[in-house]
């Protein structure tokens, strides 16, 4: 997982402060246990977050290699007798170079409009209490935005919405769902007349096989939203289908953001589990 710019800056500030304290000890052996503990903690924290930086490719791997080696050396040195100046020389490599080589590139990466758009997609659901399954889909959608896979992002968002509807149906029970199917199919005209008796279900696997279009139609009875909300949902489903099938649809980052906002207000704000 990629560390935040704020956290990395905080680590760099800790290293800077520790270096200043080490310098005061000059060439003597470092005997302060609290400072040794802090140095070991800084080294461990760096070594823990370094792989995330490497995976994200935000800065030079040579620099990461250099700081990894330095921090590993520092960690080893804190377990043995060592002069403060020797420890300081190791830490100085990180303090002097890491801000420009790692912190600034990370700040620029995390502040790029693409990363901002991805965060805004996830933030659209900030008010909702998400299940782990829903969270997974939304996070995946946000990651799709960061790599400009906007159609995939829309598909993932819709999957999150359907996960919420499935969870709500399961929680309410299949009898309630089947009663809603009966009530819906008894109404005249579109879209009610497309709901057949075969839409009834008695198990989760059957729910998983049911059509999304049926689910949002029956949702009018089951979750109490009106025809206008249904039509909005139907448009979102249409956009999802356009994204999933070959065609000329070409959504952009702003489309994904708008999709997320609508999905959050139409499903997540209305259907609680």
């Amino acid at each position: 997982m990629l560390v935040s710019g704020d956290d990395l800056e905080a680590l760099h500030a800790r290293a800077k402060s520790a270096l200043q304290t080490l310098r005061k000890s000059g060439n003597k052996e470092l005997k302060r246990a609290d400072l040794k503990t802090e140095l070991a903690s800084i080294a461990r924290d760096w070594l823990r977050l370094s792989p995330g930086l490497r995976d994200a490719g935000v800065c030079s791997t040579e620099k990461l290699d250099e700081y990894d080696r330095t921090m590993q050396d520092l960690l080893t040195s804190t377990t043995a007798r060592a002069r403060a100046s020797a420890l300081a020389s190791k830490l100085r490599v990180f303090v002097d170079g890491a801000f420009d080589a790692v912190v600034v590139p990370l700040i620029k990466y995390q502040g790029s409009p693409r990363q901002v758009a991805a965060r805004q997609v996830a933030a659209a659901f900030a008010k909702s209490t998400l299940t782990p399954e829903e969270r997974t889909y939304i996070d995946e959608s946000a990651r799709c935005v960061t790599v400009q896979c906007y159609r995939a992002a829309i598909i993932m968002l819709w999957a999150a919405g359907i996960a919420r509807l499935h969870a709500a149906v399961t929680k309410g029970g299949f009898d309630a769902y089947n009663a809603a199917v009966d009530a819906t199919s008894s109404r005249k005209g579109a879209p009610f007349n497309r709901i057949k008796d075969s839409a009834k279900i008695t198990s989760v696997p059957e729910l998983q096989r049911s059509r999304d279009a049926d689910l949002i139609t029956v949702g009018m009875e089951l979750f109490g939203y009106d025809l206008q909300i249904f039509q909005e949902l139907d448009r979102l489903l249409g956009t999802r289908n356009d994204s999933a099938h070959p065609g000329m649809a070409h959504p952009g980052a702003l489309d994904v953001q708008q999709y997320a906002t609508k999905l959050a207000s139409l499903i997540f704000d209305r259907v609680s589990i």
């Binding site: 935040s4 600034v104 995390q110 502040g111 409009p113 901002v116 965060r119 805004q120 980052a253 702003l254």
Partner: protein
Amino acid sequence: MYENVEDELQRIVKLAEGLPELFRLKGFEILLQGYVSTLAPSAPPAPAHEKQLATSEQQGASQSWKTGIPPDVLAKLTAMAKRRGVAAEQLAGLFDFSVEPFAFAPIHVSGGAIKERMRRVALLVAARSFLATGRWLADWAEIKAMCTHQNAYDQANFASTLKAAKGDIFKSVEVGTSVELSATGTEQAEQLLASIAKPDAG
């Protein structure tokens, strides 16, 4: 036709001699070419259909700046430009719409103190967010990134500088998350954009 050629040539030679040696020959050629073109008879007026073609080409060129701007963004950008008395094209020129999502084109955020420049960057980031999403909400990391880009990042005082403007240009400041502009802030952000787009506007 050639009454003044000698005088003019002498003048051109003199001007070319004033140039650094590396550019002397090229400079002479350019000056001579310019003089000769003034002697050539002017072109006859273009036929009407050519004029029409040229007009439609000009119109096409005048609309070309809209290419790549999402319709929602264009509507907000045009309205803002109208409010601030600048051409929408000039305002659009502050952004790079060739990337998805759109970003700032190379701009310079001026200002004396680094704190002032940080606040200006926050206003600009919020303005970009407004054009994209309709909300005057600046992403914390984006402000920080643009501050580093503008050489206006003060690590120790970044959060405190933004927090200090809460109640003035910022309605809310969520450290590590976002900054939301107040009515004063939105006014200043629009003014700032306009002043960068057209330095004598505002």
